[in-house]
Amino acid sequence: MKQPPQKKDGPPVASSIAASERIGVDRSVEKERKKDLPPPRKQFDDESRGGRAKRRSVLNQPEARNRVELFRHLPPHKNGTQLPSLESKFFELHEKHPAVYKVGLQYLAGDLSGGNARCIAMLQAFQEAIRDYSTPPEKTLTRDLTSKIGGFVSFLIECRPLSMSMGNAIRFLKSRIARLPLTLSESEAKTTLCSDIDRFINEKIVLADKVILRHAATKIRDGDVLLTYGSSCVVEMILLYAHELGKQFRVVVVDSHPMLEGQKLLRRLVVKGLSCTYTQLNAISYVMHKVTRVFLGASSIFSNGTVYSTVGTASVAMVAHAFRVPVLVCCEAYKFHERVQLDSICFNELGDPDAISKVPGRVDVNYLDNLTDKQKENLELLNLKYDATPSDYISVIVTDYGMIPPTSVPVIVREYRKEYLLI
């Protein structure tokens, strides 16, 4: 029943984007291009994918049944049933540093969510691991540490696929390690790396958020009705900051199953005294006519201006566009990525399929509980975590470099990517 994953000829690198453009190109030109292009990502169903990773995997995940055909290239969701057994393994000897192990388990359990939180937790765990690290004899610090970090990263990927922010942070860390001058002693190198990580977190996340707050608050006027979707830490900070400045506005929090992240945001806003309205995604076109601004967060923004964010964001942006309401996406610049993505299918993350077959707290509508096993074979459940919003629906992106139109994302990537990789 398993069909061969690749349906086109050419080098055996399956449905990645870079491969499709190489077909029909000269061999020599191809070789040139192969050097320049970053190696294409191996998709989950690619047979040539390293068996090494499988052998080293800590989590033994059985192949989930009934996965949707179109999304077979994405790794299946790791549910939390393994959690107790993994927690008991915490003090056993294995090459994962306990801090990294702990962060991985937090990802698996879903305790840590949100691009910034995950990135900061991961970097702080790496800091601890670097502090406790000592170079084995006969090995250089840079190479050994890089491979160790690589090991940590593959463990974290198994727990939960990396977000773009984490990917950029890891690239930063690896380039810093590679650029360490060879004359440094081990302790000096370790302190340099730790302070670099601190500076990254401080400049790219903490201070960047402060700058974004100032810019975004200028776009909130008295009497505004602001809509936000899900729970983004930057948007929450903006709303609280504007409230502290004394602006009078109302907030509409839009939420969706199964994550119901908006409820957490709602609680935090109401506690501070903002007047809020709460609704679900299906009511979006009903409330949109009273909304004056839409504030959204993003997990990443690609080079063609596409915003990659929590699933449902695209719907909110499109409805806002239809009602001619300006959409402001607030995102730090370290989350920008050179990749270009045209749809939400080729790269995404799968969530727990069983979560969408139940409505919590409502026994009467859980119709799917009574299906027999034979009937369940016909049902495929799909729970996507992210979606891609095309740039036409975004009015402005608020970053720490100011307010830019979506077409200027590659400019920021071009001008400043070199800068932060080299600092």
Binding site: Q248, S395, P405, S408
Partner: protein
């Protein structure tokens, strides 16, 4: 004020209960008093920038003269400053300058005003000349001190007229140049100072050259026998059309009347001098004549980060009509007009008002929309002709990032 749903009444009730708003009248009259009540209301509502433009380019009307007379009478005891009058009468909106005196004999505001009154000079150039005058008369002994003085002068200029985008942009550009120059510490102070002054002088030439470059670049976009629609009085657009006429291109121009400044009348005057066939339209006739139009050409008061433009009221309307009828819309603007604003909608800019004279008395209960400018989003613009080249609207942000960051 007017919400989009029927619950606005409830909303306003809640709002009024929350704030201590003393509005005894009924709901419909709780708006700010209409502009027709207070024509001479300096500093709070009237945009000095648009007043000046009206003075330069519009037809002189009787009530403008009356305002000018009144203004001259009020400000005759102004502090004697270097800037002084250059023979032209002050307009009511320009009276805010005296507040900035603060004991100094030299006031940058007055200097700026005097430069600005010359019709051929662009706003940004006037600002930079005023700042150059600050450098000349400053008593600073180090670069740091000079920078601080300049920053103060530039801030006071910007806050004096918040509605003029090219003024803000010109000040920012000059300050950027100053801070970059002051980073070169190895020079002695006097030569650095003279270099700054020289640069400021050169800026004036750059501005004239900019207009010529734009005129040259835009020639390819007009073919023989084309019909061009223009709106507002832009010196750059005039230069473009002059150059086209000199190159013996055959074209004709449709000119909108441009209420309330009647810029169209003045513009058509200028074009008639060049022997270019001109046809005047009232503002409402734009959609009617859009079929005959091949190209729409605007100037810009400011070009914003999104790639859109801020220009005289009516520009957005014409751009919308042209876009829906698939006519190309071109904008001719110098690069110093690029500003780091990002309006999200029409009301997102600081308001720039100018009193409108309808010629007949209006009852006081009637509100008048007195905004002098509107914002045209980038999707309605085809190309921008600038001295940096012919650009698409999305490149503006690229240029701004390279310039300012």
């Amino acid at each position: 004020m007017w919400w989009r749903s029927a619950s606005f009444i409830l909303d306003r009730q809640q709002h009024q209960n929350r704030t201590v708003a003393p509005s005894p009248e009924s709901f419909l009259l709780s708006s700010p008093p209409p502009m027709a009540d207070s024509p001479l209301n300096p500093k709070s509502n009237i945009s000095a920038y648009y007043q000046t433009r009206a003075a330069h380019h519009a037809v002189v009307t009787t009530d403008w003269l009356a305002q000018a007379q009144a203004a001259v009478g009020r400000h005759s005891d102004d502090d004697g400053s270097l800037g002084g009058d250059k023979g032209a009468a002050r307009i009511g909106g320009g009276g805010g300058g005296e507040e900035e005196g603060s004991g100094k004999a030299f006031s940058v505001i007055d200097e700026f005003n005097s430069w600005r009154k010359q019709p051929a000079l662009a706003e940004a150039v006037a600002a930079i000349r005023a700042l150059a005058a600050v450098i000349r008369t400053s008593g600073a002994a180090t670069m740091m001190e000079l920078e601080i003085e300049l920053k103060k002068a530039s801030d006071s200029l910007k806050s004096w007229d918040t509605t003029s985008i090219s003024l803000t942009a010109g000040c920012d550009l000059f300050m950027l140049y100053v801070t970059r120059t002051s980073a070169l510490e190895y020079e002695d102070f006097n030569s650095a100072k003279s270099r700054l002054i020289e640069r400021a002088e050169k800026f004036g030439e750059i501005s004239c050259k900019a207009r010529r470059i734009i005129a040259m670049l835009s020639q390819d976009f007009f073919f023989d026998g084309c019909t061009i629609l223009v709106h507002g009085f832009s010196r750059v657009v005039l230069e473009v059309l002059k150059t086209a006429a000199e190159n013996k291109k055959h074209f004709r121009v449709l000119c909108t009347e441009g209420r309330p400044d009647r810029t169209g009348l003045r513009f058509s005057n200028e074009l008639a001098k060049l022997d270019v066939p001109v046809k005047l339209l009232i503002d409402s006739a734009v959609a009617y004549t859009m079929d005959e139009v091949d190209v729409v050409l605007f100037g810009a008061d400011g070009v914003v980060e999104s790639g859109g433009i801020i220009n005289m009221m009516g520009t957005f309307q014409i751009a919308l009509v042209a876009h829906s009828m698939n006519k190309p819309v071109y904008v001719a603007a110098e690069s110093y007009k690029f500003a780091r604003h990002y309006p999200l909608d029409q009301k997102d800019m600081s308001p720039a008002r100018r009193p409108i004279d309808f010629g007949v008395p209006i009852p006081s209960k009637v509100e008048v929309e007195t905004s002098a400018r509107d914002y045209t989003p980038p999707q309605y613009l085809t190309l921008l002709f600038t001295d940096l080249g012919v650009l698409t609207p999305s490149v503006i942000s690229d240029e701004l990032i390279q310039l300012y960051l």
